[in-house]
């Protein structure tokens, strides 16, 4: 009995301290970390983001890297499990000592690692679109916020379809807060949210909700559904013969390839507002899409707004490093704050120094046979919602997420 215990203890202690992170990195490479779900329920969001990050980094290295050094990415796959997010963020900050961390898909995972990266003084970029309100000097957010997308989509929906809006949202902070913004902007546009239902991410049975919608007879349905399980709403909606009967608008549909996975009968006609669509006709986007398919082939995942914003985030970081001519966190932050614009595929993305968010173009698209046709575009929309409450120039130590009441 006793012998085996010493053997055991000795063994485990040794396995822990030995640095098994044996990446073959040259000593002088610049290390950045990427934490995106590449397996589990959120894989559909992670794959395109990961591809665009690689594309941006390879562009930097092809142009000679930064400060004369190559940029290397250490990738972590949290497997759609928030517990691994916190573990990997801690490792990236304390063991890898990355100069920047690009990570977090759901708002839940962002709020899990943002405080950690602040505590361990590691620069953080969050690129997916989200519910807005984060005010943190150590964090830059390159995705769109409600005022940019919902702010344009609601007037469009109320004008074209009617005043009575029925909201279906994912039951976590993204869904809850965005639903409040929908209520706010619907009111401003003269409409009214007649009902809002919230569904945890593992719900697959929407038959009751479909009956309730038919009972309340709204003019337009606003969906903020997220993840693989929620796609069954659109399947069951079509199966109930309701496809096309009541228009559906959303600021999350398409972010998870829903329009590709679902059949045209289930997804045609759904309208969405994003900072980027792969179908945008512009010289910058055409070149970007060509480079993207050159690098990853034609079967590469559809580029969502989350992915294009990640591409922008890497370049914003690069601008900061070049301007500051150093990797020091504060120097890079101040350099980015002094002004950084990236000619992104969806149009110019300009950092707003007071909120660390990006002013971007916003487009409304409608699904037609697995792809979006662009209906309207709104150039250079500012992150008005966050700007109303957050001013990092005035109080730089502000570190919280403001939530609309």
């Amino acid at each position: 009995m006793k012998i085996n215990r010493r053997l055991f203890l000795g063994g485990t202690a040794m396995a822990l301290t030995a640095p098994w992170v044996n990446r073959a990195f040259a000593a002088d490479d610049i290390m950045i970390a990427s934490i995106y779900d590449l397996s589990g329920g959120l894989e559909i969001y992670g794959q395109p983001i990961d591809a665009c990050l690689d594309l941006a980094v390879s562009e930097l290295n092809d142009a000679g890297g930064l400060l004369g050094r190559k940029v290397k990415v250490q990738k972590y796959d949290p497997q759609s499990n928030i517990q691994l997010y916190t573990q990997f963020a801690t490792e990236a900050a304390t063991s890898l000592k990355a100069s920047a961390v690009f990570g977090g898909i759901t708002s839940a995972s962002r709020e899990a690692i943002r405080p950690l990266l602040g505590r361990y003084q590691t620069l953080y970029f969050y690129s997916p679109l989200y519910e807005g309100g984060v005010c943190d000097r150590n964090t830059f957010l390159t995705g769109s916020t409600p005022s940019q997308t919902i702010g344009q989509l609601m007037p469009f929906a109320v004008k074209n379809f009617g005043k009575k809006v029925y909201v279906l949202a994912a039951d976590y902070n993204y869904g809850q807060i965005s639903a409040k913004w929908v209520r706010d902007y619907t009111g401003k546009a003269g409409g009214e949210v007649i009902a809002a239902e919230f569904f945890p991410l593992d719900v697959t049975d929407f038959s009751a909700a479909i009956q309730k919608i038919q009972r309340d007879k709204p003019d337009v349905i606003y969906t903020l559904l997220v993840g693989g399980n929620h796609m069954s709403f659109f399947r069951q909606w079509a199966a109930a013969g309701m496809a096309g009967k009541i228009p559906i608008v959303s600021t999350s549909f398409g972010g998870g390839n829903e329009h590709i996975v679902l059949t045209p009968a289930e997804s045609d006609g759904v309208m969405a507002a994003f900072g980027y669509f792969q179908e945008i006709k512009s010289p910058a986007n055409d070149a970007f899409v060509k480079r993207y398919h050159q690098k990853f082939g034609d079967k590469a995942p559809y580029v969502t707004e989350h992915a294009s914003a990640t591409y922008n985030a890497v370049h914003h970081w690069a601008n900061g490093v070049r301007k500051a001519n150093s990797l020091d966190r504060m120097a890079v932050i101040e350099a980015i704050e002094s002004g950084s614009t990236v000619a992104g595929p969806g149009g110019p993305s300009t950092i707003d120094p007071k909120t660390h968010h990006c002013a971007t173009d916003v487009h409304i698209g409608r699904v037609k046979n697995h792809s979006f046709e662009i209906l309207e575009s709104f150039p250079n929309q500012p992150p008005a919602d966050t700007a109303a409450v957050c001013n990092l120039a005035a109080n730089p130590n502000d570190n919280q997420q403001y939530v609309i009441q």
Binding site: S39, G40, G41, E43, I44, D171, E197, F198, F199, P200, D202, V203, T204, D205, S207, A208, A209, Q211, K212, Q214, R215, G228, N229, M231, S232, R235, Q236, A238, A239, A240, G241, M242, K245, N257, V261, L262, T263, A265, E266
Partner: protein, 288 residues
């Protein structure tokens, strides 16, 4: 009044759904006392089999009703021969081994099928009740569930094969002393149970996406339905499906799907406390 009718139809749909996802487990756990925690993954693989069948050009009905059950039944035989055969009588060990099997199948499915959600459109249209339009597919499911349960009941109750299966499950030694080869009966019964789970997966594919981790949502509900049903496998599971299915639907309509599920779990817990051996531990005692 229409809305009331709609709710009633909805209950029938949910009951059919619950019965279908539980019948495979009723056979494997109810009859064979094997706690199969990989039941959810059998359903998932049934879904994938149906989808790959359709993508390979097979008619959707044949893919769902034939390809899915057969492929999972075949997997059932392999699993029974390799793992379960050594564990009969050790119920807790069957649970842990099947939990390992569940993790293994999720891992393999994620690796080979990738985690992209795949789906096929519901093959049946919809119909109107007053101003409400309902998916007809749910009632096709309920119809199939009824057919499966009645044929299962008939098979077990009236055919010699059914008698042999029931006898072997009750007393393995006595059965072998009468010339029945228990190992073969166990293998076939396990395969039938797995096949039924595959059938459920195939039929569920059109209305809910198929992804490697979908099984987790079904295993708990199936278990609770079978256990609340009690000793007699087919009758008990049918009864508890009706009971729990209605409670789930009514509470979902009144509140939210989450409260609906919680109501189902709570109802089952209370049933088990009052009738520790399940519903058919009392009424319909002895029915197969």
């Amino acid at each position: 009044m229409d809305y009331f009718l709609v709710v009633l139809f909805q209950i029938a749909g949910t009951v059919g759904n619950l019965a279908l996802i539980s019948v495979g487990l009723a056979v494997i756990f109810g009859m064979m006392r094997v706690i199969n925690l990989a039941h959810g993954e059998f359903i998932m693989l049934g879904g994938f089999a149906a989808i790959f069948g359709v993508q390979a050009g097979i008619n959707i009905w044949i893919a769902m009703l034939v390809v899915a059950p057969l492929s999972v039944a075949f997997l059932g035989i392999v699993v029974e021969r390799l793992i379960m055969r050594r564990l009969y009588g050790r119920m807790v060990d069957t649970m842990l081994a099947s939990w390992g099997l569940s993790l293994l199948l999720i891992g393999l499915a994620t690796t080979f099928f990738g985690n992209r959600v795949v789906g096929i459109a519901a093959p049946v249209g919809s119909f109107q009740i007053g101003t409400y339009s309902l998916g007809a597919y749910d009632f096709v499911l309920t119809g199939i569930a009824l057919a499966v349960f009645s044929s299962g009941y008939a098979l077990l109750r009236f055919t010699p094969a059914g008698l042999i299966a029931r006898a072997t499950m009750q007393n393995r030694e006595m059965a072998s002393s009468l010339g029945i080869e228990p190992a073969r009966v166990y293998a076939i019964t396990f395969a039938i149970g797995a096949g039924l789970s595959g059938l459920a997966g195939g039929l569920l594919a059109p209305i809910s996406g198929v992804l490697p981790t979908m099984g987790v949502a079904y295993v708990a509900k199936a278990f609770i339905t079978v256990i609340t049903g009690g000793a007699s496998v087919i009758t008990g599971t049918a009864l508890s499906s009706v009971l729990l299915g209605s409670i789930n639907t009514v509470s979902t309509f009144l509140t939210t799907p989450v409260i609906g599920d919680v109501a189902l779990l709570l109802a089952a817990t209370i049933f088990l406390r009052i009738l520790p051996t399940g519903i058919t531990g009392r009424i319909f005692k002895g029915a197969p």
